[in-house]
């Protein structure tokens, strides 16, 4: 199994306010804003060299991402890794005591590529995104 860091996910209060702050640090917008209706979040990607962050803001009052904002601050909350096959990666990671908590589904903000969410005690939350086929 070969993994490559795809992006770091930041829970943010609003896309617009976060974008201004990240631009002050030198990050540049590299995607449109996408509303992910199934996750109830708004997403925009920004780039600095080879590094990419995903800004994730609540789309609705009951958006799950609000749980990551309870102290009123934005914060990184997951690393997303790109893999060749979600099924192969899942098998390998489950053997290392990761659990799946969201099955593979298409991610509209990443061109419809399939993503899957896992958790482990020391890693916390990670996302896997499958390479475009």
């Amino acid at each position: 199994m070969k993994l490559k860091v795809h992006h770091i996910g930041y829970a943010v209060l609003s896309i617009e306010a976060a974008r201004t702050e990240f631009e002050a640090l030198g990050w540049e917008v590299c995607s449109d804003v996408t509303d992910d209706l199934s996750r109830k979040v708004r997403i925009q990607f920004m780039r600095m060299g080879d590094e990419v962050v995903e800004l994730v803001a609540p789309l609705t009052e009951d958006s799950p991402i609000r749980k990551n904002l309870q102290q009123g601050s934005g914060m990184p909350y997951h690393i997303c890794y790109e893999v060749d096959s979600l099924e192969e990666a899942e098998t390998a990671l489950k053997a290392q005591k990761f659990i799946v908590f969201k099955k593979p589904q298409a991610a509209p903000a990443i061109g419809g590529r399939r993503v899957e969410w896992l958790y482990a005690r020391n890693n916390g939350i990670i996302e896997l995104v499958e390479k475009a086929k």
């Binding site: 749980k67 799946v100 908590f101 099955k103 958790y119 939350i125």
Partner: protein, 74 residues
Amino acid sequence: MIEESSFLDFIAGILDVPRETISLDTAYESIPEWDSVMQLRLTLEIGTEYNVEIPVDEIADIKTLGGFYKYIQG
């Protein structure tokens, strides 16, 4: 059969709360220690300790400690 008291002893250790403060009726987010990330840790730890796999589609539906307990009743 896993005794309820034994299960709750184990859970109290994970939540890092006094044993007498929790019961099978203790609900998700009713105590500050049980948030969304703790929900995942409980799923992981219970699965490992009792050798059960909680179906991924059911994790978010577990709203009380009793909800977890039913998975280890065989």
